[in-house]
C-alpha cells in the first residue's frame, strides 16, 4: 500500500539550462555537482554554481562573481539559503534557479524561489542522494526528517503514522496520517521504502 497513486508527488528530472533564461544559478547541497543531476551533455560551467562544503574551512570567495562558471562554496545549507534569499531579492527578470539534492533541500529552495517571485517555469529540480523523506504529522503538525519507512511513530504526539505520497510544497514535506484511526492498535509492519 505504499503508492496510493496520488499525483502531488513532485516530478524531478536531470537539469539542463533553460535556453530562454538569461542567467542560470544552480544550488546543490553537497561539495560538488553530482553528475547524475545534469542532463546528458550538460556541463556545470553553464551555471553559476553554489555548493555546500559542510565544514568550517571554506575558501573565502574573494570576488563574488555572478556569472556562468563561477563557483561559490558555503559552510552549510542554512548559510547557502540565507545568501540565496538576499541574492534573489536583488535579482532581475531572466534568472533561472536550479537545485540538486535531497527532497527537503529541493523544496526549501523551491519555497525561497517562490517567495522571491519565481514561477515554476523559472525553476527546475533534480533529486539526488538519499531518498529519505521529511514528513509532517497532520494531527499535531510535528515535522520529522529522514524518514525511510512507510510507517513511523510521530515524535510529537506518538501516533503511529502512515506516510502518504501526498507532498505539501508549502511545507516541503510528505503528509503522514494516523494509521490505526479506525481500529486502534491495528498497525501493519513498517516497510523500509525510501532509503
Amino acid at each position: 500500500m505504499s503508492d496510493q497513486g496520488i499525483k502531488s508527488r513532485p516530478k524531478y528530472q536531470p537539469i539542463a539550462p533553460d535556453p530562454q533564461g538569461r542567467h542560470h544559478l544552480l544550488v546543490v547541497d553537497g561539495a560538488h555537482v553530482p553528475a547524475e543531476a545534469l542532463a546528458e551533455g550538460v556541463n556545470p560551467s553553464a551555471f553559476e554554481v553554489w555548493t555546500v562544503a559542510h565544514k568550517s574551512a571554506v575558501p573565502g570567495s574573494a570576488a563574488m562573481e555572478e556569472e556562468a562558471g563561477a563557483v561559490r562554496v558555503f559552510r552549510s545549507v542554512p548559510h547557502l539559503f540565507s545568501a540565496l534569499e538576499e541574492r534573489l531579492a536583488r535579482e532581475t527578470m531572466g534568472l533561472r534557479l536550479y537545485a540538486a539534492g535531497t527532497e527537503p533541500f529541493l523544496w526549501d529552495a523551491y519555497g525561497i524561489g517562490a517567495r522571491a517571485g519565481l514561477s515554476q517555469q523559472e525553476m527546475a529540480f533534480a533529486h539526488v542522494g538519499a531518498q529519505a523523506r521529511r514528513i509532517f504529522c497532520v494531527h499535531c503538525r510535528t515535522v520529522m526528517e529522514g524518514v525511510t519507512t512507510s510507517i513511523a511513530t510521530c515524535a510529537g504526539c506518538g501516533a503511529p503514522l502512515f506516510v502518504r505520497d501526498h507532498f505539501s510544497r508549502r511545507l516541503a514535506a510528505f503528509m503522514a496520517v494516523q494509521i490505526d484511526a479506525e481500529v486502534p492498535g491495528e498497525v501493519p509492519q513498517a516497510e523500509e521504502l525510501y532509503s
Binding site: 530562454q20 538569461r22 534573489l88 531579492a89 536583488r90 535579482e91 532581475t92 517571485g117 514561477s119 517555469q121
Partner: protein, 318 residues
C-alpha cells in the same frame, strides 16, 4: 452570450479630452447604482444606428468603488468600423444605450511582486482601469505610457490622480525615444508585464521580454479593437443557412451580427476566445492572441471578432 441581463444606461456627460478622444460617463437609466465592476473590467455597448447594430467593447476607466457612474474613453479612429464614429458624432447626453454587465478579461496576476504596465495611445484605458485596484492593494507597480507629443498632456492629466509617489511616466516622444530593453532588463524577479496598444508595440514588448528571459506566463497582452480590415470575403453560415458578405472595414463578427445572427462574443478584440467558431471549409487569416499556434495551424477554428478569411470564402458551423 454575456453573463446576466444587460443594463440600460443613460449618457450623463461627454467630455472632449483631445480632438479624437472623448470620455463618456454613464449612469443607470432607471436610477440606483451599477453593480460593482471587477478590476480591469470591460463593458460592451450595443449601438443602434438606424437599422445597423454595432457592438463595441471598452475598458471601464472609473474606479471599481464608483457605482453611480461608469466611464469609458473612446478614440475616434480614422477608418472607424462604425462604433467609435457613432459614439463621437451621434450620441448625446441623455441618450439611453444598452450595455452588457462588466466582465474582467485581463485580471492582474495575484502572485506578482511587481506590475509593469506599458500603454500605447488609447491602450491606456485598460491600464487606467487597473490603477485603482493596484492602489487599493498597495501593490508595487510602474507605468509607462507612450504617446504622440500632442496627446501627452492629455495622458498626463488622466494619470495625475494616481501619480503621487508612483513611478508613472508619459513618453511624448513615442517608441523611438523609449528604452524598452533597458526597462525590461532592470525589473526585479516576480514582475509581470502588461502591455496594451498598437500591435507593433505589443509585439515589441513580447519579443524583447522573451529575449531577456521573461517566462511566457509573466507577459500579458491586451489586444484592443480589431486588427484592422482586409480584403472582402464571403462567409457561409452552414447551420443558419445563410451567406454574408464581409466588407473591407468590417469584422467577420460584425457581418454575422448585421445578418441578424446572435453570435457569441465578449472582448471583441481576439483575447477571450468567446467567439470561437468551427471552420468547415476555407483558410483562416488568424489575427488573435488567444488560439495556440497548433490551433491556428490546425485551421478548424476561427475567432470571428478579429480574424478573417485568407481566400474568397469561409464556411462556418454557425
Amino acid at each position: 452570450m454575456t453573463a446576466g441581463e444587460s443594463l440600460q444606461v443613460r449618457v450623463r456627460d461627454i467630455v472632449e479630452l483631445a480632438p479624437s478622444l472623448k470620455r463618456f460617463s454613464f449612469e443607470p437609466a432607471h436610477g440606483g447604482l451599477f453593480p460593482t465592476p471587477p478590476a480591469g473590467g470591460h463593458v460592451m455597448l450595443t449601438l443602434r444606428d438606424g437599422g445597423r447594430v454595432m457592438k463595441n467593447a471598452y475598458s471601464l476607466v472609473s474606479a471599481p468603488m464608483e457605482r453611480a457612474r461608469y466611464d469609458i474613453i473612446v478614440r475616434l479612429v480614422a477608418q472607424s468600423r462604425g462604433g467609435s464614429a457613432f459614439l463621437h458624432r451621434k450620441v448625446a447626453p441623455g441618450d439611453v444605450l444598452e450595455m452588457a454587465r462588466p466582465v474582467s478579461l485581463f485580471p492582474l496576476a495575484s502572485s506578482a511582486k511587481k506590475h509593469l504596465l506599458i500603454g500605447g495611445g488609447i491602450g491606456i484605458t485598460p491600464l487606467l482601469s487597473f490603477l485603482p485596484e493596484l492602489k487599493a492593494r498597495g501593490a508595487r507597480f510602474e507605468l509607462h505610457q507612450l504617446s504622440g507629443g500632442e496627446e501627452a498632456p492629455v495622458f498626463e492629466r488622466l494619470l495625475a490622480p494616481y501619480a503621487a509617489g508612483e513611478e508613472i511616466r508619459v513618453h511624448g516622444g513615442g517608441r523611438a525615444a523609449f528604452d524598452l530593453a533597458g526597462l525590461l532588463s532592470r525589473q526585479p524577479l516576480g514582475t509581470h508585464v502588461y502591455v496594451c496598444g498598437p500591435h507593433a508595440l505589443m509585439d515589441a514588448v513580447t519579443a524583447t521580454a522573451a529575449a531577456l528571459g521573461w517566462p511566457r506566463g509573466k507577459i500579458h497582452k491586451e489586444s484592443f479593437g480589431g486588427a484592422g480590415g482586409g480584403l472582402p470575403f464571403r462567409a457561409v453560415l452552414k447551420r443558419s443557412g445563410i451567406e454574408v458578405e464581409v466588407g473591407e472595414t468590417q469584422s467577420l463578427l460584425e457581418a454575422i451580427e448585421a445578418a441578424g445572427i446572435d453570435a457569441p462574443c465578449l472582448c471583441r478584440g481576439g483575447a477571450c476566445g468567446e467567439c470561437r467558431t468551427e471552420v468547415i471549409e476555407g483558410e483562416v487569416d488568424h489575427r488573435d492572441d488567444f488560439l495556440s499556434a497548433q490551433e491556428k495551424a490546425g485551421g478548424t477554428v476561427v475567432l470571428t471578432c478579429v480574424s478573417r478569411a485568407r481566400g474568397p470564402r469561409l464556411v462556418l458551423d454557425l
